[in-house]
């Protein structure tokens, strides 16, 4: 437990008899109280992390003893009641906030965000309704927003799935993408896919995951990283299951695709007319991703924008991800297979 505390960065002493889910106010007022009494908090590291304006992020998970994650649906794992997740954001070496998710019922998740004190000794619950706008300055003239619960739900909630993002077969695969933007080292003691399988914490998982760790099927290494980036940064809304699927753009990586060009992002974006009208481009000339043409690629235009109106993702970031833009621009300009003939 002491190790887990250090990992979470909490120096405060665990409050004895802290309120448990269903027995008192929940989420509790301090981060320290979210820690389970039983051991087993483990770090993990997704291979395609979500861009958060350059924040250094650490993540932990705790699964109730003896319980397993149901991986029957490889795209939407179901977590046991009692599961807890933490994600800590630091800027310039200082802890700013820790976000918390706990499954308290079969389809009930508690969301909370804890803001770190100036002396970095404790973190207290942020207002659920408003979050904390402009909590800290992260760059000249740019301030980081601690999200409200509704902000959190805007990305995390989806149709018929648990709300956890970034903890999946692809994200935890041992076949780590060397070109993934902002890739992090896997911390010691992590609970990645290998450990989940070895420790029997994953029920109904395909057996081949053991010998063939999941990876994005793609034509080139750069394409693999680009598609993986979309998966980690865009697919929580742009998939083929959630309500936004009506727009017909899916940027999730399909682990069952063996032909690179059958990846949903290729099928639904490349040379597909964009409803988003790129300023300065004739109305019928904008494409979601235009083969060889960065300026006509609405996905890139919106990744580059940080104006609160046309930017993508629409929240959670105030600075464009230049590393990802470089990667995906090069892929679009030099490697993207044209599908214009088939449209």
């Amino acid at each position: 437990m002491a190790l887990a505390w250090r990992l979470i960065g909490v120096t405060a002493v665990l409050i004895a008899g802290a309120a448990r889910a269903g027995e008192g106010p929940w989420p509790p007022k301090t981060l320290a109280e979210t820690h389970p009494e039983a051991a087993g908090v483990r770090p993990f590291s997704p291979q395609y992390p979500l861009w958060s304006d350059g924040a250094t992020k650490q993540r932990w998970v705790w699964l109730p003893r003896g319980k397993t994650i149901d991986a029957s649906d490889a795209e939407a794992w179901r977590f046991p009641v009692g599961t807890r997740f933490w994600k800590q954001f630091s800027f310039g070496g200082r802890k700013v906030e820790t976000r918390y998710l706990e499954k308290t019922g079969p389809d009930v998740w508690v969301y909370a965000t804890y803001v770190w004190s100036e002396d970095q000794r404790e973190a207290t619950l942020a207002p659920a309704a408003t979050g904390m706008r402009g909590a800290v300055e992260i760059a000249p003239g740019v301030r980081h927003d601690v999200p409200s619960v509704s902000d959190c739900k805007a990305c995390h909630e989806g149709k018929g799935r648990d709300v956890v993002l970034g903890f999946s077969a692809l994200q935890l695969s041992a076949d780590r993408d060397p070109l993934a933007p902002h890739a992090e080292a896997v911390p010691e003691g992590s609970l990645q896919l290998v450990e989940l399988l070895r420790e029997n914490r994953l029920a109904h998982a395909p057996r081949f995951w053991q010998r063939t760790p999941p990876a994005v099927a793609a034509r080139t290494p750069r394409a693999r990283a680009a598609l993986g980036y979309f998966h980690g940064n865009c697919s929580f809304c742009h998939n083929d299951r959630d309500p936004v699927s009506s727009v017909g753009l899916s940027l999730r990586a399909d682990l069952t695709a063996t032909i690179a060009d059958e990846q949903p992002a290729i099928r639904t974006a490349v040379d597909v007319p964009s409803k988003f009208q790129i300023r300065g481009i004739e109305p019928d000339r904008s494409r979601r991703l235009a083969t060889g043409d960065i300026e006509r690629s609405a996905v890139l235009v919106r990744m580059r924008a940080r104006d609160g109106l046309s930017q993508m993702p629409p929240l959670g970031s105030k600075c464009a991800d230049t590393a990802a833009l470089d990667l995906i621009s090069t892929w679009v300009a030099d490697e993207l297979p044209s599908r214009a003939g088939g449209m």
Binding site: G141, A154, P243, S246, Q277, I278, P314, C319
Partner: protein, 194 residues
């Protein structure tokens, strides 16, 4: 014999189903009528329908009913802030609004698949109104859309409005994206990894 039995069964099902289908159709018509009433009372066309000049001044162009800011009317920048206490500038046909939030172009609400709401589901529409965000997750719905007032509609009312909008003739009109207010571009605080 077997074929005759199947045919008879199918005929029986068709007979039984016909009144249900008629009832569903009637319900749809009632829902659309209710939606039309709500759209008229809500004055949606004031901003979402382009205007043309008539004998008594500008009037709604019914041939472009609820199709939003005309794509042909190019607006490339925000209006200068008016002098005095005024904060907002409005195009003559009320389909473009410029203010501190940037420039809003009223959307095409007809069911045109490429430029309107033709690819939206009823749930998309409800999510948009309830959250004040496009599709429930995207950019904020901008002024002067009275989103806070419309959020008071019940789900049934919103469904009726959506049913009415989907019953309109689709009009192809690619409304431009809103123009954000001028602001310096934020730079990332750390050097990006290659």
């Amino acid at each position: 014999m077997k074929t005759a039995k199947i045919t008879l069964t199918a005929f029986t099902i068709a007979l039984l189903a016909a009144p249900a289908a008629r009832a569903a159709g009637k319900k749809d018509v009632e829902q659309i009528k209710r939606g039309e009433h709500l759209v008229k009372v809500g004055l949606c066309a004031d901003c979402h329908t382009p205007k043309k000049m008539g004998p008594n001044g500008p009037e709604e162009d019914i041939s472009k009913m609820l199709s939003g800011h005309p794509a042909a009317h190019l607006v490339t920048q925000a209006a200068d802030k008016p002098a005095g206490p005024w904060a907002i500038a409005v195009a003559g046909d009320l389909t473009a609004w410029s203010g501190p939030w940037g420039v809003t172009f009223t959307r095409n609400l007809t069911p045109d698949k490429k430029t309107g709401l033709g690819d939206w589901t009823e749930q998309n529409f409800i999510d948009t109104i309830r959250t004040g965000k496009k599709l429930g997750k995207g950019r904020p719905i901008l002024p002067p859309m009275p989103i806070a007032g419309i959020q008071n509609y019940s789900d049934d009312e919103l469904k009726a409005i959506f049913a009415y909008l989907q019953s309109l003739p689709p009009i192809s009109n690619a409304v431009p994206e809103p123009i954000p207010p001028a602001a310096p571009t934020a730079q990332p605080p750390v050097a990006a990894k290659k």
